[in-house]
Amino acid sequence: MKDIVEKLIQEKLAREVQAKTRRHFIKSCAQGMGGLALSSIFMGCDPLNTPPKKTAMAFSERDLNPLATLAPPLAPKVKSVIYLHMAGAPSQLEMFDYKPELHKYDGQDCPQSLLEGKKFAFIKGTPKLMGPQADFKQEGESGNWVSNFMPHFKNVVDDVAFLKAVHTDQFNHGPAQLFMHTGSARLGRPSIGAWATYGLGSENQNLPGFVVLTSGGNTPDAGKSVWGSGFLPSVYQGVQCRSKGDPVLYIEDPDGITRDLKKSTIDAINKINKEEYAKYADPEILARINQYEMAYRMQIAVPEVMNINSEPKYIQQMYGVEPGKESFANNCLLARKLVEDGVRFVQLFDWGWDTHGNIREGSIDMGLRNKCREIDRPITALIMDLKQRGLLDDTLIVWGGEFGRTPMQENRGNTKMAYKGRDHHGDAFTMWMAGGGIKKGASHGKTDDIGFSGIEGQVSVHDVHATILHLLGFNHEEFTHEFQGRNFRLTDVEGDIIKEILA
């Protein structure tokens, strides 16, 4: 990171000097033209401003390999992030945010004072409050509440830190997912994973730095932009790996082609591309040379890491994996394998959490219970597995949806719904984090008696981002990228580190 900043400063100085002395610059450079060696590409020949050799090399390395590992500017707490996103928005009121008072109001009209000036995606008129549809118990030494929808989770409850009063200003899936992952509800900003790989590179040059795994039969509503690179170079965007078919499309060599022959092919391609560079000096050619080398290495590394069959039976059982299928459990095990191999950011999306009560699968009493069953065991296993390997201290796990759900039962179009459901609600919902730098067993933030609003410890999406970046070793206010004349950062102009959940 320091190198990047240094580079930017050097570049800026160089540009300023050149503006005054461009003619002189051209003349003195002209003598040095021709016969350029690859290593000298980015060594300036501006006599007034020859950057120190070290800086030039750092720039050059990044340009040849945009995923080269960089040290963060501050001491990091974790090396990798596993982000578990429940797309559709899980109900905090049936999972972690226990509201016994809400039982009492079950079936009563929602007080008008709560509805004034509020907007909901589907609720109309005066909806009725709906009590928790799950039973809760205090678990572990921390005594944090967990519902019976998540029976295994109690075994790791003391490893996580809850955020009970997260809020977002978006109440539709697409924009809210974009906001949760890029810090902006509109298209075009880089995702957290893109920022992380941009700032830190990858620990493993044979795998993508940022891997995306999806389950639940659908990709997120907001589409691939939630793992996009926005205005950052696209090499930092998430690479979607599949647990069915080729893990990455076209990763397999054609029949009849050996690895050695593929190596010879890439060597020949790159030899010629180097000759081409000498003529055209286009840095894209250098990048391509590097991408071909990486492609070759990926062909070995990706199938290896994506193969869960190679894991021992007891590990497979612990997660509850189903080899050959696309499942959240498989993805949790893959996430562990990927961070173990040095992948910087692993993003899981599990689809099917939108419990409006319009269909059975999308109901609080039945659909949600099934979804919880699908994640409960794998998530518990993931935390325990990382722990037993000593990886949990180097990894941050983040869990959450794009918003939460209303304490009121949904009454879409002012009618009675077929099943019990809750509408979208961004004012207060639960997320949790676990891993390096996180205060074990903490719970920060509180909602009111019915779970409608945060009453203390409210944190925003930007705060969550600031905290993730902090744990990775960045000051979120200084980690910026200049685009169209403006410095952009993940947290826009907001964000405070949530110190209460830090160890």
Partner: protein, 909 residues
Amino acid sequence: MISIQKIVFLGILSLSILGSSCQDSEKVDFSTQIKPILNNKCITCHGGVKKNGGFSLLFEEEAMAITESGQPAIIRGDAANSEFIKRLHEDDLELRMPYEKAKLSDEEIDLLTRWIDQGAEWGEHWAYSLPEKVEVPSITSAASFAPEIASDFIKNDIDSFVLARLNEKGLAPNPAAEKNIIARRLALDITGLPPSEELLQKFQEDNISYETLVDQLIAQKNYGEKWATWWLDLARYADSKGYEKDIARSIWRYRDWVIDAFNKDLPYDQFTKEQLAGDLLPEPSTDQLIATAFHRNTMNNDEGGTDDEEYRIAAVIDRTNTTFEVWQSTTIGCVQCHSHPYDPFKHEEYYKLMAFFNTSQDEDTPDEGPILKFYNKTQQQEVDKVLQWVNTYGDKKEQKYYKDFLQFTEPVYKAHFFKEFDNSVYDDHASVVFWDDGNLIIEEAYTNKASFVYLNYRSHYNGTKMTIREKDANGPILAQFTINKEKNRTTSQFPLKNIEKKTNIYIETQNDAVAPEVNILNVYWVGFIPDMPGKNQTGWSEVNSAFIKSLNADTETLPILAENPEYMKRTTQLFDRGSWLTKTDTVEPGTPESLNAWNQDWSQDRLGLANWIVDKKNPLTARTLVNRVWHQIYGRGIVSTIEDIGSQSDPPSHPALLDWLALRFMNEHNWSTKALIKEIVMSGTYRQSSKSTPEMYRIDPENELYARGPRIRLGAEQIRDQALAVSGLLSDKMYGPGVMPPQPAGVWQTVYNGADWVESKGEDRYRRGIYTYLKRTSPYPSFLTFDAGSREVCMIRRTPTNTPLQALVTLNDPVYLEASHQLAKKTQVANNVDESITQSYERATFKEITPARLDALKELYQTSLSEFKQNEEASKLFLPFEKQPTPELGALTVVANAIMNLDEFLTKT
């Protein structure tokens, strides 16, 4: 323009060096000096979104208005007493502005102070007005390079603008590119394909001039395919409806219309009018109706439980946003919720624009009506019978009504208009289900005084009695008839008592033979068509039968735009904070005040809007188009932010050139896109070599000064098209439904519909990329890898990337292996490896092979050959398409594949 820019440049330069004290007399320029400070430092809190303290700096009248304090913040001519300036100097951090931010620099405060003292004149941003004339700069002797460089370089006026800036920067242009290089670049830019051998040879042997080469390429049919590929990104063209279900949509005739429009060089103003409002042109042709499918490329949500009205509005919003993104380089989407944060567009102006699009007949129904029908010959004879009859006996109005109804079956009352269901329900699939004793109401319906009612339905039982009454269950009976079993959707005609006025229509069904709560009938729409004229003439009933037969004809279709009749028109209301559920004031259609004025002669509908867009006074239309065509060719726009020409956009690299091109495009080329493209590629700027040095990349990494020719990676479709072309596989078949070339199994995740990727046979496997079937939730994977989009919404720019996944496509995708195999086969020269490799390389890259390259490829050949010789089985596996696989052909195929992976092959150089 040039001189003004120089002054400004000098102004800034001297400011930063000398400070501000000696600048007092110089006039401050609002657009270049003040607006950027306001946009960067103030407008987040005092602009379109927030107006803290009741103070906004977005519009002049707001900036000068009285704020919450009771005083205006800016007093013209009196900076010292203007709160706006006082707050910048404030020591108390609670009061100092920008709030909780660093203090403005002395220079910034000085500029703002002088601006107010000089009268706080509000300037207009350059983007919102267009000069009447732009002078071509003359190149003076001050050039930093030899005069012969300039005279060799300058081929047309574009070059004078480019040279003027190069001169300013002390840079010289590159020499012209070699003939083979420029021919390939030109063919790729104009046709999206490499040049044919024949054409290249003529050009290389000086049998044709460069200009003739340009003309011949531009006359090829491939030209339309190449430029349509670009336009289809803007039009968000796809073969499926999008959203969760993502069911197939038959809209390929629109794609073919775009190809034809480019090929016949339909002037851009007409091209615009037909797409936005072809249906509103006098006596629209079928082609003009097809053109309106531009705005039927919006997504359609068929998911159960979704509100048709919500997604109809989503489509209308998308049309509004897309129109402004495509024609005005303006992201108007922000204005849906609040005034634009930076640009001069007001909140209610969004809804005025939306009102133009809010009156079309489509309603997010699964059948996507209105759909244009394409009758076959026999069907058309019946249709013609009806039309001839109506033309003979009917008036103009009746003629139009019948023509429209036969073409696209509108206007009708669709199921989701129905209300007050009793033993009947709207079933989410665009029909209403009736049970025994079912009834419902159509509110405020107008029956056109018709003597017949038309019903579109499916019926599951015989003997259902339907009664239609005026007003309610007790109203007078208008019609009573029996409906029998009809498995398929059918349109039938039943006698109706004619009435004059608009009234509620009550419909009930009875079928005692069927148990309660059983679905007896699905009704999709009810139509009241004015009576067919000439009722007393002989032959009427035969024509009437032909009419009903035509309504039931099974035809191919295409979704189009059509306006609701007056009695079904919607009003448009403002949405509070952008939410369609909270509507406030009603608005009339209108265009933003900050742009060109509305001409009262224009109709207040989409056609009027189209006229306003292509009005020569519109400052953004022509600039947007020339900027984007330029971007297609150079990989960078003159305004690099091609999405946005406005107060937040990057300043143009060559402001005068942008305006000159825009004016020339309208006034001299008469909106001819071909003429514009020709002018750009005829320039010396375009014809330069793209060779360069690391130093030049340091000075001008983005090539915004044009001291070298363009060097850009090819687009997704182009990469595949080129591989097929050089290997001789490419089919030149044009038009028709999307095709499905091979793709890996399991790529399509079809959850709800049985749609399958059925691999095309024969030449359809080798069609150009533009014809590849595009399913929005799962586009053709290798195109996606090479940065094509999923076309859910308008995509202005494809950001070129460089990733290992791309390498995997061209190395391992069977499409490229087949092409490599064919290329190797075509260029194989018996017993001459050198010659075989040389031909393969030259055929693919259009360049002479260098000894070093030949050596590298020969080495690869030898390695491959010995591998295949050791393992004969391997070459068989590697060449699955080959009847007689040999180790030699296998090795040549490996080499050909390496060639198709070279940077020079994947790049336009």
